[in-house]
């Protein structure tokens, strides 16, 4: 007689509309209950770390935008910070504010895309259109500023490539005036929606202990009760001069991860507002003109930068070796979020798989590098 209680192994992905990239999951099911899960990554491996070894510091700069294409400014900054530290390059104040402005707008765009696709994963298609409508406005601003919608290549060693024109500042001002109402719109459709709440509350609970064991950072960690934000704890650029709040939640489920990210939209808008008022009144340079990026030659030294990206701590380690980097290593938030997935899925139902996975905000190119 065959065993009626045998578990079944099924495959999810690699090409699956909800995996935001290409991720394969091998699931072991007992009826509808997930008994074990094994993530298989590497389908987007482009050898970004190896590419650094054959290029000069400047030649590598356009490539780093591709690591997390939804947060290109964060990658560029993490790399520029390393080189500026190693080559002892000063960055003018105005450039620092422009960098923070770009990064916070990028964070809003990234969270909006997450919100839209997360709701789509749960079967709600209308929030996607609201989110993309507003994200499109940010991308238009970036396109006017840098010439690109996604891979900006805008930051450079010692500052930013172009000054920010006054008409773009006006565009951003209008945007941050409109945006709080848009966020209220999302909250009106989503936050109290009984279907959304019952699909997210107490689903995929990430305990504080597990979050630290698995090195989870960013909004996922803050939703589990650890109030750690590298903008506050290790302030870089001008974050110590800006006034903003960091939110955390204690329950650690998919719903609290949603709440933390919605709060971050508000705090990012607040930072953008402060940056604009500084940039308007500043007559500073936007680029340290004394830097000759093509000629950079750095003696053997090592530095690791820490940046709070939309998906957690992003670190770039550069080991300099003369004209080329000897070794570049990237640490990204999603890499560790994929690893914790099996822990969250054990004894969850198959139907909750995408609710739990979507709430972690994983971007696969960042995992595979």
């Amino acid at each position: 007689m065959t065993n009626l209680f045998k578990t079944m192994e099924i495959n999810v992905g690699p090409q699956h509309p909800s995996t935001h990239g290409v991720l394969r999951l091998i699931l072991e099911l007992d009826g509808e209950i997930i008994k074990s899960c094994k993530p298989v990554v590497g389908y987007l491996h482009r050898g970004i770390e190896k590419m650094a070894e054959n290029r000069s510091y400047l030649q590598y700069l356009p490539i780093v935008d591709r690591i997390d294409y939804l947060g290109g400014f964060f990658n560029s900054y993490a790399y520029c910070d390393c080189i500026e530290h190693l080559a002892e390059i000063d960055v003018p104040d105005k450039a620092k504010y422009i960098r923070v402005l770009c990064m916070e707008l990028n964070r809003i765009a990234s969270h909006l895309l997450w919100l839209g696709t997360f709701m789509l994963d749960l079967g709600a298609s209308s929030p996607l259109f609201y989110c993309f409508r507003d994200r499109e406005r940010i991308l238009h601003i970036f396109e006017a500023l840098t010439g690109q919608r996604m891979m900006y290549n805008y930051f450079t060693f010692g500052g930013v490539r172009f000054d920010i024109p006054s008409d773009i500042i006006d565009k951003i001002s209008v945007f941050i005036e409109d945006m709080p109402e848009c966020i209220n719109d999302y909250e009106n459709i989503i936050t109290d929606n009984p279907i959304f709440v019952s699909r997210c509350k107490s689903k995929g609970i990430l305990t504080k202990k597990n979050a630290l064991q698995y090195s989870i950072t960013g909004p996922n960690l803050r939703a589990s009760g650890v109030n750690l934000d590298f903008r506050k704890s290790n302030p870089y650029l001008v974050y110590d001069r800006l006034n903003f709040d960091v939110s955390s939640d204690i329950s650690g489920d998919a719903f609290s991860r949603y709440k933390v990210r919605i709060f971050e939209l508000h705090s990012s808008l607040k930072i953008v507002e402060q940056c604009i008022s500084f940039i308007k009144n500043s007559s500073d340079e936007f680029l340290n003109k004394s830097v000759k990026p093509v000629m950079l030659n750095i003696d053997n030294a090592e530095y690791t930068s820490s940046v709070e990206s939309p998906r957690g701590l992003m670190s770039c380690t550069v080991m300099a070796g003369g004209k080329n980097p000897y070794r570049v290593k990237w640490r990204t938030g999603s890499y560790y979020a994929v690893q914790v997935l099996p822990e969250l899925l054990i004894n969850a139902e198959l139907a909750d798989l995408m609710a739990i996975f979507g709430s972690l905000d994983v971007i696969l190119p960042e995992v595979d590098k």
Binding site: K50, Q59, L212, Y214, T317, Y326, K329, Y335, Y336
Partner: protein
């Protein structure tokens, strides 16, 4: 800062320099000491960084303490084989698989060790300096006159 005297008492051969600790052997004991016994409680393993220094591979364990908000780098040299720290930090599993894949280091004690990015039957370990790079598309980059 970490308590250097206490660390030296338990492990006399370690070298402490700023936020770097250089360890020759017993790396797992040192990390487990830093995680539990010392008064600075390094509860997070942020990442493991490997670099090929031609005759050995340098591993840097980057620890982080959420309580004191500081990073600490524990540096060691390995050849072919290293001890796994997955029993201390679960996040080390992917890092160890990645280093096994790209540098060919075998982590003893990690039972689920496998290649992370490259296919199972891939020849060589791409991030080693000795990895064959004779692809003609890379040649333009080796022009020394630039």
């Amino acid at each position: 800062m970490i308590n250097t005297d206490l660390l030296k008492e338990y492990f006399p051969d370690v070298l402490v320099y700023d936020y770097y600790i250089f360890v020759e052997k017993n790396i797992v004991d040192v990390i487990s000491f830093l995680k539990t016994k010392n008064y600075v409680d390094f509860d997070v393993l942020s990442q493991i960084i490997a670099a090929d220094c031609t005759d050995f591979v340098q591993l840097t364990y980057r620890l982080y303490s959420t309580e004191n908000n500081e990073f600490l780098n524990v540096v060691t040299k390995v050849k072919d084989e290293a001890a796994s720290v997955t029993h201390l930090y679960k996040s080390a599993h992917f890092d160890e698989c990645e280093i096994h894949d790209l540098f060919g280091i075998n982590f003893v004690g990690n039972e689920k060790l496998e290649r992370l990015y490259m296919p199972e039957d891939w020849d060589g370990h791409p991030l080693l300096k000795s990895y064959d790079q004779t692809d003609e598309r890379l040649e333009w980059n080796n022009d020394q006159s630039l």
